[in-house]
């Protein structure tokens, strides 16, 4: 494995100067006629961070990325890279580079010339150019393929060359637009690992766009869940998964069981006492600023439910198995409560014989309940 290239950043001064965030977006808007593709984005991406933007199609994540790259002009707002306002700069002048979904390798140039493209534009001297290209091809494990044309490479190989082509320029920020979208599952997983490794070795800030929640969670330090041109929630994968701020976020980042609940008492510190049909009263954590008698939604993740008795720190229901699905790494059970609502439970192994029609006493820890404001429309939009 080659040594990681020297700290990214060109000019170097920008990086070492201050703790300026790698990217700062201020009041970013973009409309196409009446449609607001990006509807007010304010975010700071830290230096060296692996930052992902995820969301359903049309949420504005790709448009935002292209605005950072300079390929789309914002209708309003400001874009800063390490404190420098780049909003008015054309793409070729910005210290950022992009890896595209379709790789966009130049078909009339071989691998070496593709990777060397940006360096040639900068009139890099021949010796240095050759060294840097070799270094980068080594990093992405494509050494020996310099003479190949893009059409002779597989999808995964093309993606690695595209990555090398951008990284060789030592951008201050690397933008990736669903780069693994066109690859099969196994290859995607491999490349996710490689991308993560490379990002950590090289230390460049990655801004990653994907519609695949698992992919984003696997690689990112922080994720931004986007919807209708706005960021709905921004945080570490753990925070977003365990404490989603809306039903939309809860549904987008994973399956969840949603129980309509009523707030009985506000206990302070984001703790509440609530009541739900079939479950009774319970105490749990939730989003801030819920009020008494508010119609809320309690969510419990399928993996938090197990066949166990209710105790002081647990609550639960009795339900009947309606459907079982063996997925390989887990067993997904669908159960029906007396009220008629359905519950989804996922088991790692089958400790107890589960069969359709069996009645089970289920329970989960109070800690695993999370209260949200009700938002049926949001929940539907995420599915």
């Amino acid at each position: 494995m080659s040594e990681a290239p020297a700290i990214a950043g060109d000019p170097v001064a920008a990086r070492t100067a201050s703790a300026e965030p790698a990217v700062r977006l201020v009041g970013l808007y973009r409309s196409y006629g009446d449609v607001r593709a990006v509807d007010g984005i304010d975010v700071e991406i830290a230096d060296g961070e692996f930052f992902s933007m995820i969301g359903p199609s049309g949420c504005g994540k790709t448009t935002t990325l292209r605005m950072i790259a300079g390929l789309v002009e914002p209708s309003a707002g400001r874009i800063e890279v390490h404190g420098r306002d780049v909003t008015a700069l054309r793409p070729h002048r910005r210290p950022v580079n992009t890896v595209f979904q379709q790789y966009a390798l130049f078909p009339h140039l071989n691998v070496f010339e593709n990777v060397a493209f940006g360096l040639r534009e900068r009139r890099t001297p021949r010796a240095e150019l050759a060294t840097r290209v070799a270094e980068m091809l080594d990093l992405v494990e494509m050494t020996g393929r310099e003479a190949n044309r893009p059409t002779q490479l597989s999808g995964g190989q093309q993606q690695r060359v595209a990555l090398a082509r951008s990284l060789v320029l030592r951008p201050e920020v690397l933008l990736l637009d669903e780069p693994l979208g066109a690859l099969d599952l196994k290859l995607r997983k491999q490349l996710q690992l490689q991308l993560k490794r490379i990002q950590q070795e090289v230390g460049i800030t990655f801004v990653y766009v994907t519609h695949d929640q698992e992919e984003a969670f696997f690689m990112s330090d922080r994720v931004a869940i986007m919807r209708d041109g706005r960021i709905e929630q921004l945080g570490t994968p753990q925070r977003v998964y365990e404490t989603p701020v809306t039903e939309f976020v809860a549904e987008f980042v994973g399956a969840s069981n949603r129980f309509p609940a009523r707030i009985v008492d506000v206990l302070g510190g984001d703790a509440y006492e609530a009541e739900a049909d079939g479950i009774g009263r319970f105490r749990c954590q939730g989003v801030p600023r819920l009020v008494r008698d508010q119609s809320a939604c309690a969510i419990v993740r399928p993996e938090a439910i197990s066949v166990a008795p209710v105790t002081a720190d647990r609550c639960g229901v009795t339900a009947t198995v309606v459907d079982l699905a063996y997925l390989g790494h887990e067993i997904s059970c669908l159960l029906e409560m007396p009220s008629g609502d359905q519950l989804s439970m996922s088991l790692r192994q089958q400790r107890e014989p589960m069969e359709v029609g069996r009645s089970c006493g289920l329970s989960w820890r109070l800690d695993d309940i999370w209260l949200l404001a009700r938002d049926d429309a949001g929940a539907q939009a995420a599915v």
């Binding site: 790259a69 300079g70 390929l71 054309r90 793409p91 070729h92 950022v96 580079n97 992009t98 595209f100 379709q102 966009a104 130049f106 078909p107 009339h108 493209f117 940006g118 534009e121 900068r122 044309r149 059409t151 002779q152 082509r165 951008s166 320029l169």
Partner: protein, 273 residues
């Protein structure tokens, strides 16, 4: 074994093909025939080709044709590339108007605009000659070239140019390093087409040639009026060959673009993996 009669459509097609190609075959055959009378086959000879080759008029006019063809091709291609790049970013309305102007140059009968140019040049006191013919050829050659270039540009992904810009190339560099190299196959095809059309053209060449410029196509027309010697057949066959080779090369390029034979080899290799 039962003898099956050919289908009526096959018979009809066969007859049409024979009618179309018989005259052409006749020209080729009689260019190689010893006798000057177009009656029967008297023996093989390349004498008439030699006569044509040594004929000073033929040589001068062939040169004129080449001059006209190259000039009109270069100008037409420049117009076509600029037009193609412009229409990509133009509004739909502007595009519609421009396409109308392009197609009208193809659809309009040549004699109409040849006459129009004749009158125009006369009014503007522009002399007839090589450059007047070039202007006339550019009228239709630029239209064909524009369509070919536009088609190729449409098939190029804009992401490639975005990637080039992203990597540090300004608009001119993007054109020079990415757009134009990828356009080259289309440019070659358009060039070969334009050269062929220029060589074959008679109407514009006659109207605008005046007394000084006579492309070989006009010379042929004149020679036929006087007497059909085998020399005419020889020149005709030679011109046909030039056109045939041009079109075939254009066809090959279309199949083998953008990276030439390497593309086919690569496909074969990947299929084998």
């Amino acid at each position: 074994m039962k003898l099956r009669l050919p289908r009526p459509t096959s018979v009809f097609t066969g007859i049409v093909m024979i009618c179309l190609y018989l005259p052409i075959i006749a020209v080729v055959v009689y260019s190689l025939d010893k006798s000057a009378d177009l009656i029967g086959w008297t023996g093989f000879t390349t004498h008439w080709y030699s006569v044509a080759f040594h004929d000073p008029e033929v040589r001068r006019d062939l040169l004129t044709s080449l001059e006209v063809a190259s000039a009109s091709t270069v100008i037409s291609l420049t117009i076509a590339v600029c037009a193609g790049l412009w229409t990509r970013g133009a509004s739909p309305r502007a595009r519609r108007i421009f396409d109308g102007l392009t197609y009208s140059r193809i659809v309009l009968p040549e004699i109409v605009f040849a006459l129009g140019l004749l009158i125009l040049f006369s009014k503007l006191h522009i002399g007839y000659g090589v450059w007047a013919i070039v202007a006339g050829h550019v009228v239709f050659n630029s239209a064909y070239a524009t369509i070919i270039i536009q088609a190729r540009l449409a098939s190029l992904s804009s992401t490639l140019e975005e990637a080039a810009a992203d990597l540090g190339a300004n608009r001119w560099r993007v054109f020079r390093r990415i757009t134009f190299p990828l356009l080259v196959p289309a440019v070659l095809v358009a060039a070969l087409l334009a050269i062929s059309f220029s060589f074959d053209d008679v109407i514009v060449s006659q109207f605008l040639g005046g007394t000084s410029a006579e492309p070989i196509s006009v010379l042929l027309l004149g020679m036929i009026r006087l007497h059909v010697t085998p020399e005419v057949n020889a020149i005709g066959t030679a011109l046909m060959l030039i056109t045939l080779v041009s079109f075939s090369t254009a066809g090959l390029i279309t199949v083998l673009r953008p990276t030439g034979a390497g593309h086919l080899l690569a496909l074969g290799r990947r299929a084998a993996e």
